[in-house]
Every structure is written in structure tokens, then in C-alpha cells.
Amino acid sequence: MSEPTTTFEPRIVAFFCNWCTYTAADLAGVSRMKYAPNIRVIRLMCSGRLDPQFVMTAFAKGADGVLIGGCHPGDCHYVEGNYKTLRRATLLKRMLADLGIVDGRFRLEWISASEGDKVKHVVNDMVEKLRALGPLNMPGKHKDWDKEMEELEEQLQAQEGEACHVH
């Protein structure tokens, strides 16, 4: 029981639009649907607010997956915000792939206010897929990458110490 679990638990940051997907997630809650606890939802008024910088930040800070939830095309509460999201997400997917963030880590889903069960299915499906892909762990990777500077830095600090003594 006290053995550390070796199953990797992916961390998903989700950006849900207030009117459709966030409401659908609330509905899933009210209906007591059960799904994986790996997701952390950040509320936006519209998926159109989604700045690709948020996605990059989420990955850079340790997310294994990023999920965007918006209204179905044609149903945006603000008329057309989700079309802009679609355009940005389409290009972002390509760019992320070119940066080595494989397909499946960044996901765009259209979930309407009445589709509580879709929230459940998408989350569970995404967790499974991310488990198979393994951790992304950008902070860990960046730390690893920067190890190459450590030796030199330590050397220089030692020298500086000596120099200080001299002066």
C-alpha cells in the first residue's frame, strides 16, 4: 500500500469556454458522471480568448497535455470566436508537431452545454492516450539541457571566490 505507484499520471491543463464546455463539465458533475482526475480546468469566456501563448506556457510549465473546449462551429455564444480558435489551433497543431510535441498532446474539442458525457469521454480518452505517450516534463527537460553549463559555472564561481580572496 505504501509502495510508490509506478503508473504515470498525465497532467492535463484544459481551457474551457464559459458558455458551452465549462457548462457541460458542470453538467457532468451534476449528473455525477465519473472521469479521470488528471484534468485542471481554466475558465475563459470564449475559446476565442485562447492565446497560443497559454498553450506554450502550459507545456513549458509541465503539462503533458493541453485540451481546449469550445462551442460547436456555428454555435459560439459570441457568434464566431470558435472559428478563430479553429484557425489558430490548426496552425498551432502543425507548429507543435514541428517542435516535437506529438499528436495527441494538444487537443481541440467542440463540446456543447448539453454534452456532459462528451467531457467525460474526452478526458478519459486523452488520459489513456497520454499515458501511452509518456510524460513530456518540459521543466525536467530544460533542467537536463542546462546541466551542461553547471560544470563551467561551478568552476567560475570557485575562481571568483579565489579572486575575491586575493583582492
Binding site: D51, P52, Q53, V55, M56, T57, F59, A60, P73, Y83, K84, L86, R87, R88, T90, L91, L92, R94, M95, D98, L99, G100, I101, G134, L136, M138, K141, H142, D144, W145, D146, K147, E148, M149, L152, E153, L156, E160
Partner: protein, 329 residues
């Protein structure tokens, strides 16, 4: 002994263009040279590293370093010059955001070495010899700096006081910076010494830009002969002017070429490439994935286009390789 303030220029992983931009000061260079004492400038003067090491800490008033940090030697020099300088200025795109050299962060060091020393069409190296950082031969020892796995901007290695952006920075920015230095009227530490507003504000073609651009196609500069009077984005060219810091007087646009983003983002933007992506995708037309994909196919290399001068500062810092090919040692 001269009482003029000491300044220096150093170059790391760079093309030399920034050094030339100093020369581009033209007559103004006399003003600069007259007002300061250049104590270190490997490109143009014969001072050595040991000369710098002999200087007292913080005795150099301002050190302008250009070029990205790619080797252990450049790291070492960056640390050394930081110790010896009061004000350290990252000069040019490479020092500011990693520059074009940082596009190498799309490849692992192994990929680069293998290509250069084995697979390149003009390489003949049957023994697959690789350069070593240490080599002993006949009792004599030689050293080469280590090529790091990741290209870094200057501030990813040492603490930087100011940035002068541009590839290369226009001479005017350098002149203004020197003047500010000499008068002691410097902005808060960390400021980029260029206007904090996008290029469109300075662009002569701004008035011709329609209020409702919705492109179904993006074109590359070689595909059209751009109308020299009209907004380049409106003509379908990928112009990064709206997303790029101004201060260059839109010189590329005046040369009928679209802005490629060398001044980096404004201070309000964290990841330049991501913001460029958002802006460009927002100008694309299309409501269905198929249409949109077709339009966006006109941007064949998103990473190269959006992070041309700043992949080191991308929040991801480079491409992640599949396991087995790491960016580490």
C-alpha cells in the same frame, strides 16, 4: 590614463553583421570613439582575453555582446565580461533572443555533428572522425570549446542589463544607447532599447492596409512582385510587422520585403512565435478545417517563420526529440 568611460564589443555565435552595424554609424562613429575608450573588440582591435582578465571587476562601463551562446568558450567569455562590466548589453537578435543560430535548436547536437562530419555531400571522412574538446598528440595538448547541445540567448547564460534588438540593430539605436549611457539617463534594468510598439506604427503603408483582411492564401516573397505602395500583408505576404517591435523605421518594408520579426516582440508578449501564430491565423479565412489547412499551407515552415530570430526564447526553447536522441549529453 584615459578618463573616458570604457566600453567593449564581443561576438559569440554570430555572423559579424552586428560588428558591421557599428561601422555603419558612419560619421557618428567619430562621436562614439571620441567619447569612449574601446578596451576590447576582437573583430577590430588586438586586445586579448588576458587583458580583460587583468581588468578590475566592473571597470568596463558598458559591454556590448552580440551573437548567441553556442560553445563553452562563449559561455566563459560571457561570464568573464559580466564580471568586468557595469552594464552588459545584449546587442542584436542573436544575443537578445538567440537569433538565426538558435534555429539549430530544432536538431540535436548529434544530428548536427553527424550531418556535418559524415553525411554532408561535400564531406569526405571515411573514418568518421569527430572534433574533440581535448586532444593529445606527441605530448602536446590542444583544446577546442565544446559545442553545447542548446543554443542560448545571452540572458540564458548571464544577467543582462539592456537589449538592443535587430538583425542587425540599426545604427541609430546604437547611437541612442551610447548617448543614454554617457548621459546616465538609462531606463529600468531589463529594458529593450527600442520603442515598445509594433512596426506598423512606423510603416508608410499603414494607411493602405484594409480594415478587414481575410486571406485565403499566403504567398512567399519569391512568388509575387509586391506592389511597392500597398500593405504587404494585404497582398498575401507573411509580414510580421504587426507582431514585431518597431524602431527600425520599417526599413525592410521600404525595401519592398515583408518584416521577418528581427526586433523580437513587444514587452507585453511572452512567446513571440506563439503570438505571431495567433495573429497570422487570425487573418486567415475559412470556417472548416479543410479550407483553413489549405490556406495555412502557404506558411510551409511555422517554426522557421515564427521563431526565425528567437527559437531560444520560445517557451519550449527548441524541438523535443524522440527518446533516444536527447538534447543532453
Amino acid at each position: 590614463m584615459s578618463t573616458k568611460p570604457k566600453i567593449g564589443f564581443y561576438w559569440c555565435a554570430s555572423c559579424g553583421g552586428c560588428e558591421e552595424s557599428v561601422v555603419d554609424l558612419a560619421e557618428d562613429i567619430l562621436m562614439v570613439v571620441g567619447a569612449v575608450d574601446i578596451v576590447f573588440w576582437p573583430c577590430a582591435m588586438d586586445f586579448k582575453k588576458k587583458d580583460v582578465e587583468a581588468m578590475a571587476d566592473k571597470s568596463i562601463v558598458a559591454m556590448l555582446i552580440n551573437g548567441a551562446i553556442r560553445t563553452s568558450e562563449q559561455e566563459e567569455m560571457a561570464h568573464l565580461l559580466r564580471r568586468k562590466s557595469q552594464v552588459l548589453i545584449a546587442y542584436g537578435s542573436c544575443a537578445h533572443t538567440g537569433g538565426i543560430p538558435s534555429l539549430a535548436n530544432q536538431f540535436s547536437r548529434e544530428q548536427i555533428m553527424k550531418y556535418v562530419y559524415e553525411d554532408a555531400p561535400t564531406m569526405v571522412n571515411d573514418q568518421k572522425t569527430r572534433p574533440q574538446t581535448h586532444y593529445k598528440d606527441d605530448g602536446r595538448e590542444t583544446e577546442l570549446p565544446e559545442l553545447r547541445n542548446t543554443v542560448r540567448s545571452l540572458d540564458q547564460v548571464v544577467d543582462v542589463d539592456y537589449y538592443i534588438p535587430g538583425c542587425p540593430p540599426p545604427p541609430k539605436l546604437l547611437k541612442d544607447a551610447v548617448v543614454a549611457l554617457l548621459s546616465g539617463k538609462l531606463p529600468p534594468k531589463g529594458t529593450v532599447l527600442a520603442p515598445d510598439i509594433a512596426v506598423c506604427q512606423q510603416c508608410k503603408r499603414n494607411d493602405t492596409k484594409p480594415q478587414d483582411i481575410s486571406l485565403t492564401e499566403f504567398k512567399r516573397p519569391h512568388q509575387i512582385i509586391a506592389d511597392p505602395e500597398k500593405c504587404l500583408l494585404a497582398q498575401g505576404l507573411v509580414c510580421l510587422g504587426p507582431a514585431t517591435r518597431g524602431g527600425c523605421d520599417a526599413v525592410c518594408i521600404n525595401g519592398n520585403m515583408p518584416c521577418t520579426g528581427c526586433f523580437g516582440p513587444t514587452s507585453r508578449v511572452t512567446d513571440h512565435g506563439a503570438k505571431i501564430l495567433s495573429y497570422l491565423a487570425s487573418t486567415a479565412a475559412g470556417k472548416e478545417e479543410k479550407e483553413i489547412t489549405k490556406t495555412l499551407a502557404g506558411v510551409p515552415d511555422p517554426v522557421g517563420t515564427f521563431y526565425r530570430y528567437g527559437l531560444a526564447k520560445c517557451l519550449l526553447r527548441g524541438k523535443i526529440h524522440a527518446t533516444g536522441e536527447s538534447n543532453t549529453r
